[in-house]
């Protein structure tokens, strides 16, 4: 069970960092977890259901504000994160119902617009949000609890994706991605599935947004709804491999590490260098690192949808056409 081994090992490794690593390693990993959670969420709707979009940051931002306002009102940050996750789901439900009727670039850019509209609300309802000034929160003194909550969310998303990848539900999402009309005509409940996935993909970003606000002890619209967060997330997923179990993880780790290595050494041109690294991957692995590895069938790379394959290659007792119907 390669997948499970990879998940357990990486989760265990990540879990010991607070005890062996520096404070800085901790904050690096906090950031990494945030992006892992974002990347996996995006991968659900973008990679599996095929509804790629540029608006995830809307949920992140709304979650950040929901959480920040609750913390401002005196609630515990954990409760705030929970409420934020709920706010993400509540926002995604009507939004999904409306927006998921359009596809491709229309959905992608439409969602970008949605994020901008949410940002405008954060600026415009300045009575509540303090507008562009932002909300200042009491900083947390100990990062560890925050760290483990983010750890749980990040690896929760990994496990969820792995489960999905091995389930019929996952295959049905892929069917929507490949040809929604056909999927619909073949009895796959496309509307329900895609809205459900969309909602599911909004919860973690919103919760993580709130935790991020906790971590920063500050949030303003520019940070909460930063297009850069969006683009980085998408870049990670694409780099790692869309619609795969480990793509987002690999993408997030690779991007973060490359960033980290380059930016202290070449502050002036590191962004250009990051760009060049991305280009290199894109050119040589146009479907991302994990997809590339899967096509090459490297031994340590778990196959996609492996449970199904296992079922299929199991010797069957009787398999005659009569049995087929």
């Amino acid at each position: 069970m390669k997948s499970l081994v990879i998940i357990v090992v990486s989760a265990a490794l990540a879990a010991v960092i607070p005890f062996v690593g520096s404070e800085y390693a901790l904050s690096f990993t906090v950031q990494l977890f945030v992006f892992v959670a974002l990347a996996y969420s995006w991968n659900l709707i973008g990679g599996y259901a095929g509804y790629t979009h540029f608006g995830q940051v809307a949920f992140f931002g709304v979650g950040a504000y929901t959480g920040a306002l609750m913390m401002d009102a005196g609630f515990h940050w954990l409760l705030a994160a929970g409420a934020a996750g709920l706010s993400g789901a509540l926002l995604a439900l009507p939004l999904g119902g409306a927006m998921l009727r359009v596809k491709g670039p229309f959905f992608a850019i439409g969602m970008f617009g949605m994020a901008r509209v949410c940002e405008s609300f954060a600026l415009g309802f300045d009575g509540i949000t303090q507008g562009g000034t932002g909300l200042y929160l009491t900083p947390v003194t100990d990062l560890k609890p925050l760290y483990f909550v983010l750890w749980a969310i990040a690896f929760g998303m990994v496990v969820l994706t792995w489960k999905l990848d091995n389930s019929r539900l996952g295959i049905q999402l892929l069917a929507i991605r490949e040809d929604e009309t056909a999927a619909d005509a073949l009895g796959i409940r496309t509307t329900r599935l895609k809205i459900g996935t969309f909602v599911a993909s909004a919860i973690a970003p919103a919760a993580v947004g709130s935790l991020y606000a906790t971590y920063l002890s500050f949030i303003d619209p520019a940070t909460a709804f930063a297009p850069m967060t969006e683009l980085t997330t998408i870049a990670m997923v694409l780099l790692g491999g869309m619609g795969t179990t480990f793509g987002p993880l690999v993408g997030a780790v690779v991007m973060s590490v490359v960033n980290e290595l380059l930016w202290s050494r070449f502050p002036e041109i590191y962004l250009a260098l990051v760009g060049a690294v991305i280009l290199a991957v894109v050119l040589f692995m146009p479907r991302g690192i994990v997809s590339f590895a899967m096509r090459r069938a490297w031994w340590w790379v778990p196959a996609a949808r492996s449970s199904l394959r296992r079922l299929a290659s199991r010797p069957a007792p009787s398999r005659s056409p009569k049995e087929a119907h």
């Binding site: 800085y24 390693a25 300045d126 303090q130 507008g131 562009g132 932002g134 500050f218």
Partner: protein, 367 residues
Amino acid sequence: AEPIKVGIALSQSGNLADSAEHYKKAVELWRDQVNARGGLLNRPVELVLYDDRSDPATAARLYERLITNDNVDLLVSPWGSASTATATAVAEKHKRVMINSGGASEKIHQRNFKHIFQSAAPISAYVEGIGPVAEKFGLKTMDIISRDYPAARDMEVALNKIAKDRNIKIEKAEYFPAGTSDYSSYLAQAKQSNPDIWISVGYPNEAIEMVRQFRANNYLPKLFVHNGASIDDFVKAAGKDAEYAVGMSLYEPVLKTKGNAEFVKAYKDKYGAEPGYYSGFGYAGVTVLEEAVRKTGSLDQDKLRETLSTMETDTVLGHHKVDPKTGLQVGVKGLLVQIRDGKRAIIYPEELKTADAVIPMPAWANR
């Protein structure tokens, strides 16, 4: 000897990259100077610089890194209020002293932090000249039209106070989102309501675009004030249209503040241009830091904190003094400058002025 490491994350990319560049230049100049003087506590000074990408979250992480990974000895804030807001929280968490030389927003100092000391001018200092000038020229109404970002709403608070004292009417305070480049709707409104003063805080591109659009629409308030007008880019990019615009400034190369003449000369020698107020902020910050370390005689953070909470000194910006409880800057005074013949002339305060203000600004047709 082992160098003293000073850590700063400032924007080398993103929307603050431009202004932070000036800040960085001043800090680097200081490093060279202090090392030429034999260093600090007889140790050379080394800067550890990172790029926060104009992103407050990145700034927070970088300060985390500076503190725990690079083990820097001293901390200077990043540029801009948003990044400073998150960076100061990190410093406070680690009980490390930080000079806030880049964040004007007063909110930063309203969080009961004990280790953060502002050397930059708070936003109230930016606008303190508005009251007297308005009174002198009989300006009665004012529109605040500003980019919505951390410092802007502080400015409204400060202006409200001034308006109350001086009997000026603030007709509206409008905020536009970052990235706005078109002011047609405000222009149409202003043409109708004709405010005496149009005041704005933000970045130079906004000042440039505003005057260009004033000109293109043949409109002009009696007084246009924008902190961006105090930046060299403004005059260069707006050309003749820049004339008579007024900038809030905290620093001018001509100021007779302590050490300024030397600073300007050294800066010019090194970079071939005069320092602007962003550079002044950076330089003042490290000056305060240097002074505090010398006074304390050690890098011990607790002792430094004690020194800084009461220390007064003079920098290129003017007199440095903080409120011991909040660390808020209370010494530095603001200036107003007006563009005259392509140069900034100080028009406020009276005792420093290099030219008489021309207010109302002459109409486009009469130039």
